[in-house]
């Protein structure tokens, strides 16, 4: 794979001269994203913790989206998925995404139901 590496990220917005430069560029990007996460995690801006979207705090949405962004760049550039054949890449990426989305949906829905049983049912837990 030494000669056919794709050297651009952000859909071609940023092009690097060599693979080494691309690696450092991705590192800087990942560090910035992590720094943003940590700063938000420490200060927890009131505007983000008190507004909700689809039942979840905006801050948590931001954290999850930034995590997926980081995961994308780790997989695409560090694990060279960008240079693999499309079929291999899709087999690797979509299989877990489908299964995990399914599992998370089921478990979180069930957990919310159990929460409501504890809350409204006749179960004493706070004693």
């Amino acid at each position: 794979m030494a000669h056919d590496q794709k050297l651009e990220i952000f859909r071609g917005l940023l092009k690097f001269k060599s693979n080494t430069q691309k690696i450092w560029g991705v590192l800087i990007f990942l560090s910035i994203v992590t720094a943003v996460e940590v700063v938000l995690g420490i200060y927890k801006p009131h505007a983000l913790t008190h507004s909700y979207f689809l039942g979840m705090k905006l801050l948590n949405w931001i954290f999850i989206i930034l995590t997926l962004v980081k995961a994308y760049y780790i997989a695409w550039d560090f694990m060279h998925l960008r240079d693999e054949k499309t079929a291999l890449r899709r087999a690797i990426v979509w299989t877990p995404i489908f299964l995990v989305a399914y599992l998370v949906f089921i478990l979180l829905f069930e957990a919310d139901y159990v929460y409501n049983v504890y809350k409204d049912g006749f179960i004493k837990w706070n004693f």
Binding site: A2, N19, S31, T67, F78, L88, P96, L108, N126, F127
Partner: protein, 329 residues
Amino acid sequence: MDSTVTTGTGEENVWGGGNQPLGASYGKMMMWFFIVSDALTFSGFLAAYGFSRFKFIETWPIADEVFTHVPFFHGNYPMIYVAFMTFILIMSSVTMVLAVDAGHKMKQNAVIWYMFLTIIGGAIFVGSQAWEWATFIKGDYGAIETKGGRILQFVDAETGERAALADFSKIIPSERTEHERKNGVWFYDEGSRPSFSLDEVREGFLANPSILIRTEAILQEGEKSGEKTLLTREQSLEKIKDGKIVVQGANLVRNEYGSRLFADFFFFITGFHGFHVFSGVVINVIIFFNVILGTYERRGHYEMVEKVGLYWHFVDLVWVFVFTFFYLV
């Protein structure tokens, strides 16, 4: 990159073996299959964590208040050390990918150095995790557990800060006979006990009017929503009667931070991840020596470095998710 699959030149070659329709060697494919299955295992753990958390959404501990320590520094620094660990792991991922890159160019010395740095980064991470575990197990403020298994923490009303048991507990002199091995056939040792008895904490609490009780319940509305409920002195005096056990630190049965499952998941998920980092370091060391011995130089390619690199990046990838779901959200 070709968008179509090449199946060789003639009919007999299709089934003749040696085809790589996905453009990846057997070893690399198997590493990817392993990574996908391992990713599903970790997802199962994290989804189970989400299940328990949603189940106890109004009483779950707040991670910012649990992980506040930095080695060699006193004080309250939430998130800082975990952010440092994250950065170390990303950094070692970068040196790993640089090693792979140097391998493509057949630069043996560069591969040796980058592998070495990767191993150092992994060792720092595992060490940090061990320290984090030790701090978590030791605990810092201490708490009281009620009959129903709820955790009651203490706050100093004057400063608004958490109050440690040692700050207000009264030392009541008492005699205690230690159970010994010679007195019981099946008895080994007593294990660890909290530094204060329930009576000492209770008496100290009654004698200090500024100490209030903080319950697990997270306020759902109002200006302070998102914070734990702070009882008034009258409510606290009533609540302390429910106390049954003094809890300091954490183990698999109970912990001073709140929900029992919180510590269980912490040990299980970060432990499983730490085990991956540890095994990754071991595999990296093996490959490191192979590079020094010139094994891959003789073989003509450094694909083995790329394969362990995949595993190493996967460990980093998992940590990104553990970081988010355990420490941030």
